[in-house]
Symmetry: C2
Subunit: 255 residues, 2 copies
DNA sequence: CTGGCGCCTTGATCCACATCAAGGCCGCGG
DNA sequence: CCGCGGCCTTGATGTGGATCAAGGCGCCAG
C-alpha cells in the first residue's frame, strides 16, 4: 500500500452549478436558471480538514453556505468545557443563518469537508429578491427544527441503549436518502464520527458509548468490523430499541 | 371573595387585526394593510381550556395559527409514556407547520388559551403569494431553532440545579420581552406550568424539580410565595448557576 | 524493532437523579 | 364540619451512567 498524502481527495470538482451533486437538494434547488447564474457568480468553494473550525461560537460570521461533501458538527460548549452537539450536517445541508450575524455554536468539520460558500451580504441580497431561495430555506429550517425536537426527546428521555440505537437509525436513514437505497439488514454503515463526537451527540460520556456498542454487538444487533463501521444485523430490533414505530425498513422510502 | 366562574376571562376581544395585541410581533407583523385585510377575512378565534389538546401527535391538522393569549406546550411521547416537552409557546408564537400536514407533537394548552386560527389550505395560499408572511415565518422558525438548540444543551449536559436556574432565566427573559421591562432582583415571575410540566420541560422527574426549588429557596436565590410564583431574589447568582454569561440583568435589553 | 501517542475498551467505584413511599396543603362537595 | 382528590414536598432507597483507572490496539517516527 502506497501512502497517499491526499488520499481522501475529492473526486468531484464542479465549476458550474448545473453539474453540482447537491443541485437538487440544496438551498438552490428551486432556483431558476437565471437565479442560478447569480449564485454561480457569487459562490466560492473552500475545503476544511477534519477538526477544523468552519465558524466559531460568538464569531461575527462573514460567510454562509452549503455542505457539498463531508460532515459538519454544530456544537455548543459550557464554560467548564461540557459540550453538546446540536446539529450534524451532511451534503446539501446549509450552514449559517441569514439575518443573524453572530453564530450561536461552533461548526467543526468532522471529516474532510467541501463547502460552497457565499459572503453574507451578497447572500442576503440574493435572498431578499428571491421567492425560491426563501421558500427552500424555510423548508430546510423546518426540517432542521423537526430534527432538533426529535433530538430533544432523545436527550431528555431516552436511556443510553435507546440513544445509541436511535443514533444508528438516524444515520441509516440519512445514508439511505443520500445514496438513494433502502435500509436493509446487513447494510454497512460508515460512521463519520469518533466515539467522543458520538458521545457529544447523545449527551453521554465516551465510556458509556463504547459500552453500549459492545452491548449491541453482544445482543447480535450489530457487527463492528472496525471502529468507524457498523453493520446492522437486525434493523427491526434496532428500530424497536430506538423507540420508533416507523416501518420503512425494507421499503424504498426515499424522499 | 366571590367565586367567579369565568374569573380568568379574556379581557380583550379584537375583531379587527389592527387592534390586535400581537399585531407587531406575530407572523403577520410585516404584512401590509392590504394583506392584513385578507388575513382578517380568513382568521377565526378559538379558546382552549387548560389541559385541552390543540393538536395531537400524528393528527392530520387542518388548522394553524398564532397564540394570542395564554401558553401552549408542545410535547412528544414515547410508547411507554415517557414525555418530553419540545416547545413552549407564548402570545405571538405560531403553531403548526405550513407544508407539513402531520403534526410531530401534541400541542396542549397550559393555561387558558386564545388562538387566532386559519384553515391550513387558506393560509398556505396566502403564504405562497406573500413575501412578508414568508419572511416573518422564516425569522420565527430560525428563532425557534435557536431556542431548540439551547434547550438541547440544557437537556444533554446541564445538572438538575442548572436546568431549573436556566428555566427560570428563560421565563424571565420571555416575560421581560412581552411586558417590555427589564429583569430585576425581586421581580415576581408567574410560572404558567405545574411541577409536572416543568419536569417535562427539563427532562427530570417531578420530585427532582420540587427538591431543586427547595434548594434554590434555601440558598436564597428565590422566594416561593406560592407554587405558581417565583420571586427572583438574586438574579445574578441565578444567571451564573444557569451557565449563561449574558448580562442584561439590569439593562433595558428588550428586543 | 521500539517507544509514544491517539483512540477505544473494559473494570471498579461513585453519585446524581430516579423510584418508591409517606404525608401536607388546599379547595371543593356533601 | 368532614372526607376526598389534586398537587406538591420530603425522606429512604435504588440504579444508570459518570468518573476513575488500567490496559489494548494500530499507527507513526526514530
Amino acid at each position: 500500500m502506497v501512502t497517499e498524502p491526499t488520499a481522501i481527495e475529492f473526486t468531484w470538482k464542479p465549476h458550474c452549478c448545473a453539474d453540482c451533486a447537491i443541485r437538487h437538494r440544496a438551498v438552490c434547488s428551486y432556483s431558476t436558471p437565471a437565479e442560478l447564474a447569480l449564485l454561480e457568480k457569487a459562490k466560492f468553494y473552500k475545503d476544511f480538514e477534519p477538526g477544523q473550525e468552519i465558524v466559531s461560537e460568538g464569531e461575527h460570521t462573514q460567510v454562509l453556505g452549503s455542505v457539498i461533501d463531508g460532515v459538519v458538527a454544530l456544537q455548543k460548549t459550557l464554560e467548564d468545557g461540557r459540550r453538546q452537539m446540536v446539529g450534524l450536517l451532511f451534503p446539501s445541508d446549509f450552514i449559517g443563518r441569514p439575518l443573524r450575524p453572530v453564530a450561536p455554536y461552533d461548526a467543526v468539520a468532522a471529516t474532510r469537508v467541501r463547502m460552497c460558500l457565499f459572503h453574507r451580504r451578497e447572500f442576503e441580497d440574493l435572498l431578499r429578491g428571491s421567492e425560491q431561495l426563501k421558500h427552500r430555506l424555510l423548508e430546510m429550517t423546518l426540517d432542521e427544527l423537526d430534527a432538533a425536537q426529535e433530538w430533544m426527546l432523545l436527550l431528555g428521555r431516552k436511556t443510553a441503549a435507546e440513544k445509541l440505537a436511535s443514533f444508528l437509525m438516524i444515520l441509516s436513514r440519512r445514508a439511505a436518502v443520500l445514496e438513494n437505497r433502502p435500509i436493509l439488514d446487513g447494510m454497512a454503515l460508515q460512521i463519520p464520527l469518533g466515539r467522543e463526537a458520538i458521545a457529544e451527540y447523545l449527551g453521554l460520556t465516551i465510556e458509556t458509548v463504547s459500552r453500549q456498542f459492545s452491548t449491541l454487538r453482544r445482543k447480535g444487533l450489530v457487527d463492528l468490523p472496525d471502529k468507524r463501521t457498523v453493520a446492522l444485523t437486525n434493523v427491526a430490533a434496532l428500530q424497536q430499541l430506538a423507540g420508533e414505530d416507523f416501518d420503512d425498513t425494507a421499503s424504498d422510502a426515499v424522499a
